[in-house]
């Protein structure tokens, strides 16, 4: 028995979900009484690799190759499928990011393995993985039993906790053959100053109640809390916010520690996308807005009055 975690890095830095995948991999390995290996793919990433020992990796395999500098489905699939064939893990854990979903699918299809996508909990029963995954946009939770070898679980970013467990983290450079790929990388554009919604601890969302493109109020509160700004579909459809900000069943599904909904009515599609948040606050001038039925704390009032006061009050306790 063994467990393999696939680390995701971008420009030499690990994504937060990498630490979540390692922590979860460690937990599964402990349950199975076995070792956890991690594999890192990239170019010039050996330096960062040793770090993964902190999160429970007994050994870290480094596939360092200039061809792997950017994520390309075909090359990464070739390498990961090769590593899995060689290491023969029983369970593979990785993050269900855009890249992770793509990679997990290609590898599973190629190896005829079992895959549970976007899981929020994982347990092991009789040597088999049972993963819990939200379906119907979170309106139902399904427990999925995997069979096949390996059993691959892609975990939803922000859904599982990070645990620091010091292990050896011995770094081993491995020889890999990325092969030929047909995909060509053209360019990458990152909004580095923005906190990614699916990874944010705090989200302040504004809906149609915002009344226009000026989101300064929610931005200020989000900044202060180190969080991200989200939006309802109505706000996106109005052109007030970019598509990438949409939270909901047909947008991003998020589970931050704190979700503050400002001027959002709480349509079923919006609730589906955010009701797994740990704490929900709703600010709405309509006392009958459905959002209040899901909110841990609600304030009935005008958001243009409440939000600035809230920002001031948070400033006070933050010192």
């Amino acid at each position: 028995m063994s467990v393999l975690a696939i680390a995701e890095q971008r420009d030499g830095e690990f994504r937060k979900v990498t630490y979540e995948a390692l922590s979860e991999g460690r937990r599964i390995a402990d349950e199975l009484g076995t070792d956890l290996a991690a594999v890192v793919l990239g170019s010039g990433v050996e330096g960062a690799a040793g770090d993964l020992g902190k999160y429970g990796a007994d050994k870290v395999l480094v596939a360092d190759n200039p061809a792997l500098v950017e994520y390309l489905t075909d090359l990464y699939t070739n390498v990961v499928a090769g590593v899995i064939e060689k290491e023969a893990p029983d369970v593979v854990v990785l993050g269900a990011s855009t890249q992770g979903k793509d990679l997990a699918t290609r590898v599973t299809a190629r190896l005829n393995a079992g895959l549970a996508m976007d899981c929020v909990a994982v347990k092991v029963e009789g040597g088999n993985v049972i993963a819990t995954r939200p379906i119907y946009g979170g309106k139902v939770l399904a427990d999925v039993a995997l069979n096949g070898k390996p059993q691959i679980v892609a975990i939803r970013p922000n859904a599982m906790s990070i645990a620091e467990t010091a292990k050896a983290g011995t770094v081993e450079k491995i020889e890999v053959d990325p092969g030929d790929g047909r995909l060509q990388f053209v360019e990458k554009k990152l909004e580095t100053e923005k906190v990614e919604l699916t990874e944010a601890d705090v989200i302040v969302s504004g809906g149609r109640g915002m009344g226009g493109t000026d989101y300064t109020l929610v931005e200020q509160l989000a900044d202060l809390l180190g969080g991200a700004v989200g939006a309802s579909r109505s706000a996106v459809d109005e052109g007030w916010r970019p598509h990438s900000d949409q939270v909901g069943q047909t947008g991003k599904v998020v589970s931050p520690n704190l979700y503050i909904a400002c001027g959002i009515s709480g349509a079923i599609q919006h609730l589906a996308g955010m009701s797994s948040s740990k704490v929900i606050v709703a600010i709405n001038k309509d006392p009958d807005a459905p959002i209040f039925s899901k909110a841990d704390y609600g304030i009935v009032g005008d958001l243009f009055e409440i939000v600035p006061l809230l920002t001031e009050e948070v400033k006070k306790i933050k010192g």
């Binding site: 793509d102 699918t105 047909r182 554009k189 520690n257």
Partner: protein
């Protein structure tokens, strides 16, 4: 350009979903069924590509009889042909099984480009399109909000966490849709009339040369379903003034919920 759209029929996103008595499926009475929203983007993009060039748009669906309604809607939007794979063996298939069936069906359908949704909003598997590409041995680009085709190549802008990546692939290729790609058109009345006469073939697994055993043993099997933990919502913070309410809220967030 021969374009195939992988299209799934799903419950309307307005639907309340509850677990059926067997504990491993959902109650389907009273559900309204629609085209998966991400597949609507796929249909729209296919129509735009065809109309700027020439060729044909084929809708390919794995589903039961009722899924013909979704295919007819896509034909009414302007697609040219539909193919429904309908077979009792499909029951209990996981996402990879569906992908295997779609890939088998695609052996008999010519394609330069395949477009799928990034996810179906029922199973939320995020994998069928990508798996089809793997089974067919063609490149795929997921979560695409802009594409451009020239000289036998497709260039796609993919959304990633906190940004975008542009990738290029030679055709034939597959991409999956992201919001922002386009605004799907509605089926017009003349479109609906015309759709009734467009070809819609129904096939079994045997017709596409696939043995039921190839999809009988899912790698992922649902063993139970439950509603998400109920939220203790509905606590409204009272106060004489806005300031009082906010002070109380922040106190609760910091001392009780411990999130600020």
């Amino acid at each position: 350009m021969e374009i195939v759209v992988l299209l799934k029929q799903v419950p309307d996103t307005e639907s309340m979903i509850s677990v059926a008595d067997d504990g491993v499926s959902i109650k389907t009475v009273d559900l309204k069924w629609v085209i998966n929203p991400y597949d609507e983007f796929a249909v729209e993009e296919a129509l735009q590509i065809r109309d700027a060039d020439s060729g044909k748009v084929t809708i390919l669906t794995v589903g039961s009889d009722k899924a013909t309604a979704a295919i007819r809607t896509a034909l009414a939007m302007g697609a040219d042909e539909g193919v429904l794979i309908n077979d009792p063996a499909i029951e209990g298939c996981d996402g990879l099984g569906i992908a295997r069936i779609l890939a088998a069906a695609l052996k008999d359908i010519p394609y330069d480009l395949i477009i799928a949704g990034q996810r179906a909003v029922d199973d939320d598997n995020f994998l069928v399109g990508t798996a089809v590409a793997e089974y067919l041995g063609i490149p795929n680009i997921s979560m695409v909000n802009k594409q451009e085709i020239a000289d036998g190549k497709i260039k796609c802008r993919q959304t990633i966490e906190g940004g975008t990546v542009v990738l290029e692939a030679p055709l034939p290729a597959l991409f999956t849709t992201q919001r922002g790609l386009n605004e799907p058109r509605y089926a017009s009345l003349p479109g609906i009339m015309k759709a009734k006469k467009k070809p819609l073939a129904t096939k079994t697994l045997a017709d596409i040369g696939l043995d039921a055993s190839a999809v009988a043993d899912p790698g992922a099997k649902i063993v139970s379903m439950q509603p998400p933990p109920a939220r203790q919502g509905g606590r409204i913070i009272e106060g004489e003034t806005a300031q009082e309410k906010v002070t109380e809220l922040v106190k609760l967030l910091s001392e009780e919920a411990k999130v600020v």
